[in-house]
Symmetry: C2
Subunit: 357 residues, 2 copies
DNA sequence: TTGTAGGCGTTATCAA
DNA sequence: TTGATAACGCCTACAA
């Protein structure tokens, strides 16, 4: 039977994984003592320094590493932070990837002594619940299923969403301050002397989009910048920017006195791409004839072009902030760092004074 | 006491989660039966359809979700694959990063139902032993400490090195076929009509370097291509390429009849960079006067330049292959996929027929 | 067809 | 200062 057991373990490929019991045997103490020593002795129980040494030595010799599952089950901590993304974490197309976030996440986690577990939404048995193996988890992607998150949050599981997420009450999040960053871009356009501007946005109701629009409006009100004359208003929603934002459209606005065109950043960069094409098609050039601004960063395939005037999302910093918030949750020590991270204005080369100034 | 327990569970943040025992109570069956029903009944044990229904119903009603920690503890595996890199996994400088490997690793791991744990050599408590937490581990980076790996391998811990590593007997690895890829590049040069070629390599004895040189030599022998006349031979080792590979040097070889210059890829891209500068400094142009080839990919900061003739390492594919090998080790089902992955020839724009052909 | 009992590796309580 | 012992939630022989 014991024979059987051990064969089974071999079959499972864990031959060598030493457990506390083995460390105990080698050190000549009980398994409990090993747990005590290796667990950092949280309860401040007195221990012979020599016993402690023997245990430590034995653990090192055996290459002992605690089993996270067992630890978790016994209500302890793992030193493991989860990162759950609802799309593949590493999509082949770099421009869609969460890589920049991970840079910050990884550094901050390492600095705080946590390892990272990457969970991917796509994997089979892809239940959100898997993350419970980790002490807490970061979630990224616009489309995290609310029900699963709700459940985790209600259970008091430490979770932090990267990107604003207020509709899920109780879910902690960190996000970029798109409102202020967008407003700042518009302020710069106003300072150049533009009088009329439009915002091109895609047909998406993610917080990231609505925040940008809000900042745009706020700055309009603040600076006196106007949209095109007439009832249409300064914001254009294009379900398919490639179709809606045409050379004719640009020329039409231009003839109405619009000299500044602003696009929002999205995953695909469709709005910006369409805007660039349409302006060119209209025979206009930036920043000579019109000023163009992008509320975010250009898609990777446009990286060669002159940098758009706009702002950069401090993705690494966001990731780091998320880790700080999460570890704050774990330590239950107050609200942690503020959820909004400021974006950096990027002067770029697509905006300047309007013609005739 | 019970009171105490339950408070503790609240503190752990697992307040309401129903367990199989509760589902069992509600369904009027034993916990075992619940496990059987909910576990998909792998062993094909016969069950009353009605019992099954009752259990399922009860589970739904209670919102039962299995605890991953418990599941893994019982299964004696974590469903976790480790990725250990000896430099930061996500260095800020993208050109040094392992990102391309991770793309493949992640996809393949997800496809096989594994999550990933990221370990970094730099993180505190950075002992290699930490990886034992995962069911198996991938190692990447040229400078993985042999002693630690030795230990893991001897213990039967499933480990796979990305990149050739034969000196560590028993360590599984997957690597790119640099020998063949390098030979292919030289063959193309020979086919263009070149008669003399040199290889510039850095002073590094990593397998990746020696393999390239071997392929270079093989193809030389095969095609009749020669090095420069004299005893120096066709290979130049430059500890500091920027200093050794000068315009004068290039001109000297050129006057000896060398029309093809080949550089190896390394982390820094120093050899290629030096070669480009030296050729330009010598007043020569590629592919008009001389042909240049790079055994690998150019550094990121040279991405804007015309693509060098050479080959691309299928990094994502390598990562995926590594995962396959590792899961093969876990399942102990045979040797798994072959360790060498073919590289893709890249025609590029820096090589062509030599002058006067 | 279902239930009983034991174990997975840790932590925590309580005696010794 | 240390060691039994009982959870934690689930899985799996084996018994009924």
């Amino acid at each position: 039977m014991t024979e059987n057991r051990s064969q089974q373990r071999v079959a499972k490929g864990r031959r060598g994984r030493p457990r506390q019991a083995e460390v105990a045997r080698l050190a000549g103490v009980s398994q409990t003592t090993v747990s005590l020593v290796l667990g950092g002795n949280k309860q401040g129980i007195a221990l012979h320094a020599e016993t402690r040494e023997r245990v430590l030595e034995a653990a090192r010799e055996l290459g002992y590493v605690p089993d996270p599952a067992a630890r978790r089950l016994a209500a302890a901590r793992n030193n493991l932070l989860g990162v759950f993304s609802f799309t593949a974490t590493f999509p082949t197309a770099v421009e869609h990837s969460y890589y920049p976030f991970l840079v910050g996440v990884e550094q901050e986690a390492a600095a705080r002594g946590f390892d990272l577990v990457l969970f991917t939404g796509s994997s089979p048995g892809g239940a959100l619940e898997r993350v419970r193996l980790a002490d807490g988890c970061l979630f990224l992607g616009r489309h995290a299923p609310a029900a699963g998150l709700r459940r985790l949050v209600d259970d008091g599981y430490p979770a932090v969403h990267i990107g604003r997420r207020d509709e899920l009450a109780g879910l902690a999040w960190v996000g970029a301050d798109y409102v202020d960053a967008s407003a700042e871009v518009v302020r710069r356009l106003a300072a150049f002397g533009h009088r009329r501007a439009v915002l091109v946005r895609e047909d998406d109701d993610a917080p990231a989009s609505t925040d940008r629009e809000r900042g745009f409006h706020e700055a309009l009100a603040e600076t006196g910048l106007a949209g095109p004359p007439g009832a249409a208003g300064p914001v254009v929603r294009a379900a398919d920017p490639a179709a809606g934002i045409t050379a004719e459209w640009v020329r039409g606005r231009w003839e109405e006195g619009v000299t500044a065109f602003v696009a929002e950043e999205t995953d695909t960069g469709a709005a910006w791409r369409a805007l660039l094409g349409a302006v060119e098609g209209a025979g206009l050039s930036a920043p000579g004839d019109v000023s163009l601004a992008l509320l975010g960063s250009p898609p990777a395939d446009l990286a060669g072009r002159p940098a758009p005037t706009g702002f950069d999302i401090p993705r690494a910093e966001l990731g780091a902030a998320a880790v700080r918030t999460l570890t704050g949750l774990l330590a239950e020590d107050g609200p942690g760092s503020p959820p909004l991270v400021a974006c950096a204005f990027r002067a770029g080369h697509t905006a300047g004074p309007p013609p005739g100034t």
